[in-house]
Structures are given as C-alpha cells and as structure tokens.
Symmetry: C2
Subunit: 210 residues, 2 copies
DNA sequence: CAAACAAATACATATTCATGCTATTGCGGC
DNA sequence: GCCGCAATAGCATGAATATGTATTTGTTTG
C-alpha cells in the first residue's frame, strides 16, 4: 500500500485527488492539508511514502515546504504539482530535492502511474518539464558562448593567471622573459576589456574560459 | 509519418528495431547504420525526425556522433540508447543536446511512445535516467560546501574584489578608509589561505562563495 | 610579395598591492 | 568589569602590476 500525503489549497482539487487515490487499489491518502505550514511535523506523524505538493499555496509555498521537509526527512518522495511549467520553480524544486514535477493537467490515470513510479525510486516528470530540465542542464554547461579570440599563448598565460601565478612565476613557467608576459597580459586585457589581473580572472570564470 | 534514423552496431538489435518501427503505424525507418562515422551527412540526406543513437559503438561513439550532428543540425531529435545508466555518459549526452535517454531494456511498446514523445518536443527518459538527472542537478547546485568563516564585512569586501574593484574603489564604495580595506583584505587572505587578489577571486568562484 | 599578426624582448614610470606593526572603538559573553 | 573580536584607521616599505612605446623574428594569408 502506497501511503500518500497531500498538500493542496483548493478544496475541490484536494477532495478530487483524495477520492481518486483512495479509490485505487494499492494507494491510500493518509492525510490531506490545505497548506504546508506544519509539513515537517505532519510528515513525521503520518509517515507517507509519497507527498503530492502543490507549489502555489497561501502561507508556506510548496518550494519552502519542500525545503522544510527535506531538513528532517531525506527519504520521503516528493512530487511537485503545478499549473505552470515555470522555469524558476522547476529549478528551485529540483535543487531542493524534489523527486518529480507534474502539471496539474496530468490525467488521473497517469497520475497514479507517476505516484507509483516515484514510490519505486523513479523521477516522474510531465513531458514539458522534462524538456525544460534537459534544456536547463545543457544551457548551464554549454555557455562557452563568448569567444574573445585569444591566441594559444594568451590562453596559456590566462590559465596561469587564474591559477594565481605572478608575472615572474609565469615567465619562469613558460620559459619566457617577464616583459613578454607583460605583453601577453596587455593583449589579454584589451581582448577581455578589463584592466586588472583580478578582473581577468573573474571574467575567465564567468565566461567559462577555464 | 515519423521518420526514424537508426545507429546501432549490433546487427540483431538493428534489425529488430527496424522491424519493430517499420511494423508500426505512423513510424518509418529511413535508414539504419552500424556506426555514425558519417552521421552529419546521413542526417542531411535522410532528413529524419528522430534519431536513435546507440552510445557504445566502435569507431565514432554515440556521444561524439551526437556532437557532430549537432554541429550541423539543431532541430532533429536525438534519443540516446544504452545498456548502462552510466553517470558520465548521461551527463555528456545531455550537455550536447540529446533529447532523451533510454535504456536498451526499454520494452518495445514503450519505445514507440518514447519516439513519439521526442518527436513532439518532449524529453523521454528511462526512469532510472531521470532520477540520475535530477540528482546531478541537485548535487551541482548544493555544493556550497566550504565555509571560510568570513565576517559580513569581509564578505562585502570580497564581493567587491570579485567585481574587479581596486582598494581605492572599495574604500569609497564602502565609505571607509583605504587602510581599513587593507585590514579586511589581509584578514580575508588569511582565512582563504591565499596571498593575492586574483587568487582570492579565483577561490571565491571555485568555492561558489559568490 | 606585402600586409597582418603572433610571439618574443626591452625600458620607463606611475599606480596598486602585500605585509608588518600599532591603535581605538564598540559589542557580546563569562 | 575584563576578554576577545570585528571594524575602523594609520604608517612604512618593498614587490607587483598597469601602461606606453618600440624592435625583431617568424607565419599566415590575401
């Protein structure tokens, strides 16, 4: 029997979901609340397997509720429910250990599958959410975007700058004169539009040049 | 009609998949190859809607194949196929714009659903993969790990250093004397175990202090 | 081949940094 | 009330950095 705890402020939807779940073999709603202001305690009392958590609720919202729950319970599966596939919320929910993310328009039949999937360690997501997650992931890691057209040698110098080397150390590391290092760095500054070592380092990190 | 292009080195599986897909209404295998050494050209010729790409292939592997394809075609949907839910490959594939990631043990009936889902803009993933993706995501964003016990004021100074400010600018920005800035920075260096501005900046980025 | 550019080197100068030592003020804890 | 500590400030000195100008030597490219 999969024990489900429900957080949903809309009474109709709360009732509807309860009936759907309770009316299905192998599922049971152990409790349903209209807000998650006391979620950690309630989780402790009812010991659910899966929590359905609405995101948009008065008082403590779903994301905050999730955070509060995760502070005391790492194991319970939490499925976020929302009307919008809003980028920022998806991101926040996942960061805070949500196990899945469903749109409310998910058909009842699928919903039970999803709860079952979460219960058995899966990560059910509505299709549009999954697409977003992948896109976020790839965006996060592919912003090689900017190209400052540094020469090979300049890249080497910048790398050493980032590693905290002084001009002198760079010179000896690269077997060139310190004045050459200066030349390279001046060029780098021009190309990056900065005028200090630390700005160059910061820019290198920000733009993932390193 | 969903046009499918197939890359799979195992002849049995290649044949099996082809038959399955061709035998289903609304699906058609436009071509099937045992390696993706010439994938970009082939994509250009056959103009598939969805590509099923095995990861473990001799010659060009699936990830590299994906990269090569993405250099010339951003639109075609690519579903990665693999026997293992191997962390590193999942990560690489998603980074490079894969639209989904399936285990080979996916049952035939579901496979067609997944192809359909990819074709209509979704991001089908085997359950264990989805779980991994969420975990990666949340791991990536919760490594606030290190704490150097900086005071509030020191954090402000560090932030300004990171923004490329000189001591003088920091002083005027914070309405304090430049010598006070020095004091703070000296303290910061001690706490971060560095001894230059750029090292401090680099460390701030690496350890996500900013 | 000439033009453009990368890489290397040199010299000069003003600014900025790193470091050490010292000192005052105000706040919270024991 | 004394201790410790964060925040503030000053002074001094040597090292490192930023910037400008210039030259030489290859390589690439139109």
């Amino acid at each position: 029997m999969v024990k489900v705890l429900l957080y949903e402020d809309n009474p109709q939807l709360r009732e509807g979901l309860s009936m759907l779940i309770n009316g299905s073999d192998g599922f049971e709603v152990v409790a349903a609340f209209k807000n998650c202001d006391n979620a950690p305690d309630e989780v402790d009392i009812y010991r659910p397997d899966v929590i359905l958590m609405d995101i948009d609720m008065p008082g403590t919202n779903g994301i905050q509720g999730l955070k509060n729950i995760r502070e005391v319970n790492e194991k319970v599966k939490v499925l976020m429910l929302t009307v919008f596939d809003d980028n920022k919320n998806v991101f926040e929910a996942i960061k805070n250990g949500a196990n899945g993310y469903l749109l409310k328009k998910t058909p009842p039949s699928k919903l039970l599958d999803y709860i079952e999937e979460a219960n058995s360690g899966g990560a059910p997501m509505s299709s549009s959410i999954a697409t977003q997650v992948l896109r976020m992931f790839s965006d996060m890691n592919n912003i090689k975007g900017v190209d400052y057209d540094l020469s090979e040698r300049e890249k080497e110098v910048l790398q050493l700058l980032v590693n905290g080397y002084s001009y002198k150390m760079i010179a000896s590391e690269m077997f060139i004169a310190i004045d050459t290092v200066r030349s390279h760095i001046k060029k780098i500054y021009e190309k990056l539009h900065v005028n200090s070592k630390s700005e160059a380092v910061a820019k290198a990190f920000k733009d993932k040049l390193v």
